[in-house]
Amino acid sequence: MNSPESVLDPAGPQSRQIGGLTWLFIWTCVIVFFMVMGTLVGALAHRRKDQAMGPSREPITHPDPIRERRLWTTVWASIVLTVGTLFTLLFADLLSGRAIHKVSQSPDPLRIQIIAHQWWWEVHYIDWPARFGERSASNGITTANEIHIPVDPAHPVTVEFELDSHDVIHSFWVPNLHGKRDIIPGHPTSLWLQADRPGTYWGECGEFCGYQHAQMRLVVVAEPAEKFQSWLDGQRQSAPEPTGEMQARGRDVFLHASCAMCHSIQGTDAHASVGPDLTHVASRKILAAGAVPNMPGHLAGWIMDPQRIKPGTRMPQNNLSAGDLRALLEYIETLK
């Protein structure tokens, strides 16, 4: 019953705040629950000593006023207790909201633009602290469904996600790191988070968005700054030139079949942007927004019959000859 994506397994200051708050709420609720249950059992089972409360079935139309007053005192006390508890909870919520807001402010964040599509995540790194390289438009990277963020206890890096959607409402959610943020067309928004321990955190689309809402996942890889740096540098490279004949043929297949109508690979003539950028597709952990792991066999299945894996996805079925498919796979494997 171990689950990798849990709200109660926080990995960043924001989610830790929320996690703590959640526990506070849960325990308060547990206590309240048992108090009420105790009262309920008492109400049903306690012995009625009073004369007027005897075993008769006669209805009580004029209850004993003294008893009533005593009961009222209890009820009032409970109400006061309830209100007090609620105020405490409200206060705790406001405090944690403020705390989250505070840790979310950073003058020099790693800014990542996320464009949610039916049904995948387009990821652009648009700005970053200076130490991760020159800050220019051309130094940014474009990837899909996989976000790498640095973990640096010495100089924590706050990540600002700029969220937008160009089709329907999606919701960006990485349970281990922060709560959801709905991405509503016409209402671009942003979300700040931070990871303070390395790990691989799964994310989901939180708002129902159509046929493949279920398979619109993303993965956030939090890694030490050096690793992140090398990942970033790697992603900044163009795709390598094919080395063998097979790979060259694979690239030809990519460029000349329908692939290049939707996908781009930096360094080649494919610049389409309907589908994910595939320049470094082989370095990613998942395919098709988490529908299948990124392994050659799955990749082949995905290319040939995506509608079986993810019915309704925009990726069309293809039918490549065995040789072409093999060549294509071999080429794609080089796109680290």
Partner: protein, 685 residues
């Protein structure tokens, strides 16, 4: 329209006014038996299919509401079972994503719009006139109309599903996903028109109940003596009146956005529309909707607790005021459904506070129930009470998870996950279905004259209670572990399988429980133990008449001297005489004190309401789905029906009835009777 009838009536109406002859105590020589026969003739609905179609009897229509709503409950439940099977295993292929989407949308829609609200309305329609001691609701034809509109709406939804036209964008149909571009075909059109139909019907029922409660209470039943269930219905009806315009408006806007030739831009962000407008309007309706469902259920709870603890309610005023407070605050918390959307933080804080505040009146209610139980006589564990106790347990969990969700920070983690699914089922099943089953066991004898089988009832309870908790408790965990709602599949590595499997097993237990109940009800209505008038020795007026009640409800409508009239030590409250036996006449009282004010003639059977319901539904369905040019034609039909309705509604002053009843039933009575008796063969013959 029958010329003959109109003609004769015209001449008669022009006759000089005479003092009206009514049954007076002096004229009542034959006593109750004569009264009974006369009332029977006046109030019984005409026989045959037309009689069935045109009935205005609140009991008949109320029961129809209940049965229909229960039918939709079962259908929607079957859809839920399919969904649970699909989710039992990761990467399951039992349902395709398309079918799954249609199923969960139809499930949610049917449960919210076709089951929960109409069920509560049905209970109110059946019980409120009885509880306030009158013979029928104020506008009986409106009742007929609202039922058929509801029925047609519901049938359309499920017919659509059967024909691959089930809505598939979730029961809150967020735009732009439900808009013209992303929801091709007519699936969402059908949904929004269905919603409009059902909500119009709901508003009609709301008007009905408010007027009945305000104007037709038994003399002496001042506002502070109204049974709590009637209060809940009153408050609910007001909520309906204020909340439902929002959904009819926003679903109409959605239809207009989608509809050929109209294609407006309310939700098109490019042309200045706003997807958030939908959310605001929808939740402005849909949050109060939860209370529309829940508050009547608290009425069941209160009345059952009162009956079983055998004492008058502890904190009657507190109960009523907290209910009213809930209703008010319920209109101010809709934004907590939208905490994850980009809204200003300050606003979110205020809505958090409001959402937490709503705990207070609910807490007060809970304390009052507990205090009533505590200070009443030791209760016998009959099934109604057992369900209510289960309600307290389950609803408390739902309420507390609601407290968790009221916090913005926690909400953004938990919203749109299975945690919310768990919460809303705990609140809605716990808060409404548990009391409802209690109410079924409690009032079944009133409806049928027979008790439900207790052994089967216990099985039902055990299966349902255990099944319910097995199904929905794990969902809290699933939600916190990242399982978002509305997903038709999930990968294995998420580790969600075990809990899902448990939930699926629970769902089948619940289904088995419901099955037991259905069998029990079928069996008991004919073969159950005969109940007698008041099997629970309860104190409210519905138990003052026979079980099941006669068509005229009370031979002599009661007056009231206290809050639990049947428990009042002074049993000798006077009964009412002097209402016309020949017309469907009821006593109208004043709003606050329920002092007798005047006699009020109710309308009789007519085909026009059905015709109108059909016209409205056809206009909405054809004009709102296929082509707006159907609308003018539909309006013509609607106008015609309204004219017919108006033309045949009763005049206040009618010709004195010289003879006790009209000889010979006019051939075209169904075009509209003025509430006069038809010549129906009485039972004795």
């Amino acid at each position: 329209m029958s010329e003959a009838i109109l003609h004769t009536e015209t001449t008669e109406l022009r006759a000089p006014a005479q003092p009206e002859a009514v049954a007076s105590p002096v004229a009542d020589e034959l006593g109750p038996e004569n009264e009974r026969l006369a009332l029977e003739r006046t109030w019984r609905r005409p026989p045959g299919f037309l009689g069935w179609l045109t009935t205005t009897d609140h009991k008949e229509i109320g029961l129809r509401y209940i049965k229909t709503a229960f039918g939709f409950f079962v259908l929607a439940g079957i859809l839920a079972l399919h969904m649970r099977v699909q989710l039992a295993l990761p990467k399951n292929t039992f349902l395709t994503n398309d079918v799954y989407n249609q199923f969960f949308t139809t499930h949610g829609t049917a449960m919210m719009f076709l089951f929960a609200v109409p069920m509560m309305e049905g209970m109110g329609i059946y019980l409120v006139p009885l509880m306030v001691g009158t013979r029928n609701v104020s506008f009986p034809r409106l009742l007929n109309f609202s039922y058929y509109l509801y029925l047609i709406g519901g049938i359309c939804l499920f017919t659509g599903l059967a024909f691959n036209m089930g809505p598939d964008m979730g029961w809150f149909a967020y735009t732009p996903l439900s808009g013209p571009q992303y929801a091709p075909g007519h699936r969402m059109d059908l949904w929004s028109q269905m919603v409009t139909c059902v909500e119009i019907s709901g508003m009609a029922a709301g008007v009905e109940i408010v007027t009945t409660v305000f104007k037709q209470r038994a003399p002496g039943m001042s506002l502070n003596r109204i049974p709590i269930f009637v209060w809940t219905q009153l408050v609910t009806s007001f909520m309906i009146i204020f909340a439902m315009p929002a959904i009819t408006l926003c679903s109409t806007m959605l239809s207009m956005d989608r509809l050929t030739h109209l294609k407006t831009h309310f939700y098109n962000p490019a042309e200045g529309g706003d997807a958030l407008l939908w959310q605001h309007l929808f939740w402005f309706f849909a949050h109060p909707e939860v209370y529309i469902i829940f508050i009547p259920a608290t009425g069941f709870v209160s009345d059952i607790i009162i009956a079983f603890s055998r004492r008058r309610a502890f904190g009657y005023t507190a109960l009523v005021l907290s209910m009213v407070a809930t209703a008010f605050i319920g209109f101010g918390v809709w934004v907590h459904h939208m905490f994850a959307t980009p809204l200003p933080r300050l606003g979110q804080g205020m809505f958090t506070a409001a959402s937490l505040m709503i705990v207070v009146p609910n807490g007060v209610q809970m304390f009052c129930w507990l205090a009533t139980l505590w200070s009443g006589r030791r209760p016998r564990f009959e099934l109604p009470l057992v369900w209510v106790i289960a309600f307290i347990v389950v609803f408390l969990i739902g309420g507390l998870s609601g407290v968790i969700l009221a916090s913005v920070s926690v909400n953004v983690q938990a919203t749109d996950t299975f945690f919310v699914v768990a919460h809303l089922h705990y609140v809605l099943i716990g808060g409404a279905v548990f009391p409802l089953f209690g109410a079924f066991y409690y009032w079944f004898p009133k409806w049928t004259g027979r008790m439900l089988n207790t052994a089967a009832g216990w099985w039902h309870f055990a299966l349902f209670f255990i099944g319910f908790n097995l199904t929905f408790w794990p969902m809290h965990h699933l939600g916190l572990r990242g399982m978002t709602r509305r997903r038709y599949t999930y990968p294995e590595e998420t580790g969600w399988m075990t809990l899902n499997m448990v939930a699926t097993i629970g769902a089948f237990l619940m289904a088995a429980g419901v099955l037991v109940f259905i069998v029990n009800a079928m069996w008991s209505r004919r073969r159950g133990r005969v109940a007698g008038d008041n099997p629970w020795q309860a104190g409210t007026l519905e138990w003052a008449t026979s079980s099941p009640p006669p068509s005229y409800n009370f031979l002599y409508p009661p007056t009231v001297r206290g809050r639990e009239p049947l428990w009042e030590p002074e049993k000798e409250a006077p009964v009412i005489v002097g209402l016309s036996r020949e017309k469907r006449q009821v006593l109208s009282t004043t709003v606050l004190d329920a002092a007798p004010h005047h006699r009020y003639d109710l309308a009789g059977e007519s085909i026009w309401p059905f015709f109108l319901a059909f016209g409205v539904a056809a206009t909405l369905m054809l004009g709102g789905i296929f082509n707006p040019w159907y609308v003018p034609g539909g309006i013509a039909v609607i106008t015609l029906a309204l004219f017919g309705w108006f033309w045949t509604s009763p005049a206040l002053r009618e010709r004195p009835s010289a003879q006790p009843h009209v000889a010979g039933q006019p051939r075209l009575w169904w075009l509209g009777r003025r509430g006069k008796s038809a010549d129906v063969k009485s039972k004795d013959e």
